[in-house]
């Protein structure tokens, strides 16, 4: 049997015997925690609006996002966030908490290599690709939108 065929057969076999995560459970956990974070964010916004009735909506949503980011960073620093995320999966990664955690965790991890080449250089180790992709895809979306407006 030639090597490529042997490997193909083996990879198929491994695929078959490797345990899979349960979809239903993962989705439910993500919905529970992710939804909870959104409800909490809305709660922050509503409380801010109650105490500062004259503030505009943009400022209020910026403030409530900042509150969630700050909490996520503190939870990361105290070593709690990764335990929640292990349970919630996309429930904590998709909201802004995931982004905050990715930067904070890298900052903690690489601080030991110094403030410039450690923390400074590697703080965006995980979040960097997200930013690059975000900018690249928004450019593509912008061009598509521009073409649509021409029609």
């Amino acid at each position: 049997m030639d090597i490529q065929e042997r490997n193909k057969k083996y990879i198929e076999y491994v695929e078959l015997v490797s345990p899979k995560a349960s979809w239903g459970k993962s989705l439910f956990n993500a919905f529970l925690i992710g939804g909870g974070i959104c409800v909490f964010g809305q709660m922050c916004a509503d409380i801010l609006r109650y105490f500062l009735p004259m503030t505009d909506n943009v400022t209020i949503s910026a403030w409530s996002s900042m509150m969630i980011i700050t909490i996520a960073i503190f939870l990361t620093a105290f070593g709690v966030f990764d335990n929640i995320a292990r349970f919630a999966g996309a429930g904590t990664i998709v909201p802004i908490t995931g982004f905050a955690n990715s930067i904070a965790s890298c900052a903690i991890e690489f601080k030991k290599e110094g403030l410039i080449f450690g923390l400074g250089a590697k703080m965006f180790f995980v979040a960097g690709p997200v930013i690059v992709n975000g900018v690249a895809f928004s450019m593509i979306a912008g061009v598509i939108y521009w073409i649509i407006t021409l029609l």
């Binding site: 015997v17 490797s18 345990p19 991890e109 995980v126």
Partner: protein, 339 residues
């Protein structure tokens, strides 16, 4: 001189005794099923140091000190130190050897380093190179995680087929004189790659290498699995050992109750490590505690110890290369029953 059997196996002429062993493990390992066998445990995974790399080094140095103390010898008595770890440039082992002032050979076989070191040490002693050789290997969860995976506090989910790097060190002293179980045979493994690319599925990546070495060993020595009290693989984990059993069955050898895996043994299911432990420290700490004690009190008379290693780097993995595996095998017999 060692006698060659078949293609890759060597039967040693002299009895090479393992006269003493020592282990240090982390808290998670201490809470596992083998807690009664681990002598020393550190609750502080930083070991009072500022970085995890320094902590790993300190653990390694303490483990070597401990084994010397137990054998009632000093570092001046050691002719050679052989060992390795998981980190780039073998920093843990190289830096630990710096403080010891003994001749040193650094070896890298990823998680197979313990059996690789034992095999090299036994062959050297058999050939008359030195009289006392110390082998030491180990790993630390937090340093391995940052080198091979992601930052510790990053909130992501681990794959259900992944394994957990053991925080643990194991060291042993081999000598032509003295008492203790003897290394009888060694089989040096070949690098085997069946094309697995998923860095989380190391059990599947290493199982073909384990099969290759074990199959070659049985062919070379014309023995069978039932001739041994224990066949112990390194850190294939639960999934990897199931795959190994399947692969061996295809080759006509059935691995039954006398087959065990260090990675599978070291953690309990409730510790949420999924497939079990991995890392250089996994086979080292299990071998130097549980297995050695059972060999000494004659619960095991003749065993196969085969640690397995996944030889990937993050660079080759990101470039799309598959993961090569390797497995080295040693046969250890209790001296009183040896021929």
């Amino acid at each position: 001189m060692a006698k060659r059997l078949g293609k890759q196996t060597y039967a040693l002429e002299k009895p090479i005794h393992i006269i003493s062993t020592a282990t240090i493990v982390g808290e998670k390992e201490k809470n596992g099923p083998l807690k009664a066998y681990f002598e020393h445990c550190t609750e502080d995974d930083m070991m009072g140091e500022k970085t995890f790399e320094k902590a790993e080094r300190k653990m390694m140095e303490s483990c070597i000190d401990l084994v010397l103390e137990k054998a009632h010898i000093t570092e001046q008595d050691i002719d050679l130190l052989i060992g390795g770890d998981l980190l780039n440039q073998l920093v843990t082992m190289n830096y630990s050897a710096r403080s010891l002032n003994v001749p040193f050979l650094g070896v890298y076989g990823a998680c197979s380093t313990m059996s690789e070191s034992l095999a090299i040490a036994a062959c050297l002693l058999d050939a008359g190179v030195g009289e006392i050789i110390t082998c030491a290997t180990g790993s630390h969860f937090s340093t391995a995680e940052r080198q091979f995976r992601t930052p510790l506090e990053l909130g992501n989910q681990r794959q259900t087929y992944s394994q957990w790097t053991v925080t643990g060190m194991g060291s042993c002293i081999l000598s032509c004189k003295g008492k203790g179980p003897c290394v009888r045979m060694v089989t040096f493994g070949k690098v085997t790659d069946y094309g697995i690319k998923d860095i989380a599925n190391m059990g599947a990546a290493m199982a073909p290498a384990a099969m290759d070495t074990l199959y070659t060993f049985f062919q070379d020595t014309k023995t069978e699995p039932k001739d041994y009290d224990l066949i112990l693989s390194g850190d294939l984990g639960k999934l990897g050992s199931d795959i190994l059993k399947d692969l061996m069955r295809e080759k006509g050898y059935i691995l039954e109750e006398n087959y065990e895996d260090c990675g599978h043994m070291i953690y309990s299911a409730s510790q949420k490590t999924f497939q079990g432990g991995s890392g250089t420290g996994c086979s080292a700490s299990v071998f130097c505690s549980y297995v050695y004690k059972k060999l000494c009190n004659k619960q095991f008379k003749k065993i196969i110890f085969m640690a397995t290693g996944a030889l990937m780097s993050t660079v080759t993995n990101q470039q799309g290369d598959s993961i090569p595996g390797i497995a080295h095998l040693v046969v250890i017999e209790n001296s009183s029953v040896a021929k």
